[in-house]
Subunit: 325 residues, 2 copies
């Protein structure tokens, strides 16, 4: 994983992936006590940064391999990112989802042209089912984060942040990044180390699911005791990746963690002050910037909102002033 | 009003006003039966296009006049646009609002540094109070739409649409624009006539408040019978302006009107498919594109979402699948 791979991915993504804007609000600056620059990656195609990694991975395959098709295991943002990337490449795409995945996510993934294969979470072995499908059809697995071309695609967010902060006259800041397996954080960190070395990534996770924060402290991969039970479901993974973790250990500052209630407050702030739809997991970095200002350094902070695929019920709970937090 | 004034306004706005993105979704294309390009002006500073007109008007004043201060009559988007433009110019700003305006709007306007003066809608004469304030303090009135520099500022949206559609390979399309007094529609129409003559503006209004549509049909200014009772309050005005109407009559296609229920469905579509917060009045053009496809021509349609300042209760009503419409 290096800057040349990210630059190469940026070349393949040009004209396909959206260069998402940096947004600001004087109200957010006041709450945070410093300038807050929000990289609105929820405005990316399919509503999250995952389309970048999906496109990067598919575009790096040989035409022959790609024509055989791809497969991904996901009920969320990665599924949609890979599905759209495959459709635009004209490549077959199978998405393996648990049969209890929300109907809307199944429909959206089908709506993007993918074949959705459902398995029973209680009795089925996802990896075995996926391997059998891949084998029988010659499909290539697109991993959600622990893959160099996926990380390179997510790293293009970092290239854009380097350019956009320079345009704003900022050459030193912390960059808060929502973090699951670490594909986005490690990609951005690699890009910034080369293109804007005064900017340092800090991964942000949900409290209780802070495997990356603990892994960075321990200097070795630590796992989450569980992977369910957070509103921030989009960024819950068992553990950092074997490729992403060493990159984060080398390049990132200490991790941060916020509560579900804080994530919901950030969802509301994005609604009121930026007119953006953020999902709770996508809003954890904004939550840290607004509600944990003493844990952050500098006159300005960059925040990535990584996704905006959220159920209306959850969203409206965030907007309800009666919600605790 | 001419293209030179809009180009001059664009020069004054450069580096201050956001160049808002054009967003798309394959799901919206499918519903509309044609390509839908959404100009996301709800991402403008203060959450609506009004900041453009406010900045244009203030920046066109002499430094001496501007230093005396400005005044605007508004409880909504125009107030916030003028307030922020004044604050960034370091100019005093008085906003005259009815005392029954929502507290959040009063607080937001104060939060942008304006002095809010309240008057009793039942007993006070807004124009007389405003004139007395302007006279005694030497304030300049910034009108919401019927002012050449305000129209020129809104017209910069049209310059951006001309550039952005060209980048997308589109040289002929209808451009649906939410319309109150006509400042945005007439400004965009003037810009497009000069810079992208294959693009034609069609104003979109709420049903029952379609003064512009009726005026265009009649060839003379028609008034709304009432100016309250719509969810699309941001774009309700008594009648088109004496400056804006002749421009629209010369350059725009027929007006369109949508119901409140249709506007709410467009708010929901912007949430689900674009991850944007649109207010009902700001979403009427998207509503027309999605729900009135037979009233529109061409393989592609451009839609302006003009604002995103909406109460959570209204927004969540739009997201509730039980809402009729």
């Amino acid at each position: 994983m290096n800057i040349a791979m990210i630059e190469a991915a940026a070349g393949r993504l040009a004209g396909v992936v959206r260069r998402t804007p940096i947004l600001t609000s004087p109200f957010l600056d006041e709450i945070a006590g410093r300038r807050v620059l929000v990289k609105a990656e929820c405005l990316q195609h399919t509503g999250s940064f995952k389309f970048r990694g999906g496109w990067s991975a598919l575009s790096a395959l040989s035409p022959e391999t790609r024509a055989q098709g791809v497969i991904a295991f996901s009920s969320g943002n990665h599924a949609q990112g890979v599905a759209l990337a495959a459709r635009r490449h004209g490549a077959p795409c199978v998405i393996l989802m648990p049969s209890d995945a929300p109907r809307i996510k199944i429909e959206n993934t089908r709506g993007l042209g993918a074949e959705v294969v459902l398995y029973d979470r209680a009795t089925g072995d996802r990896d075995a089912i996926g391997a059998a499908l891949a084998e029988s059809r010659g499909l290539t697995l697109v991993k959600p984060f622990d893959d160099p071309q996926v990380i390179a695609g997510q790293g293009t967010v970092g290239l854009e942040i380097a350019e956009q902060t320079r345009e704003e006259g900022i050459d030193a800041a912390e960059v808060l990044v929502p973090c699951g397996g670490g594909g986005l954080a490690s990609g951005i960190a690699t890009a910034l180390a080369a293109r804007a070395p005064g900017l340092r990534v800090r991964p942000v996770e949900p409290e209780g699911f802070d495997d990356v924060r603990r892994s960075l402290l321990a200097g070795r991969i630590e796992r989450n005791p569980r992977t369910t039970g957070s509103l921030c479901d989009a960024i819950i993974t068992p553990a950092p990746g074997v490729i992403t973790f060493p990159i984060m250990a080398a390049l990132c500052g200490p991790g941060l963690a916020v509560s579900d209630a804080e994530a919901l407050r950030a969802v509301a702030a994005a609604f009121h002050r930026l007119r953006l739809v953020a999902e709770p997991g996508g809003a954890v970095a904004l939550a840290a910037a607004l509600l944990r200002p003493k844990e952050i350094e500098g006159d300005a902070v960059v925040v990535v909102i990584s996704g905006g695929n959220v159920e209306p019920g959850t969203f409206c709970r965030a907007l309800d002033p009666g919600t605790p937090g």
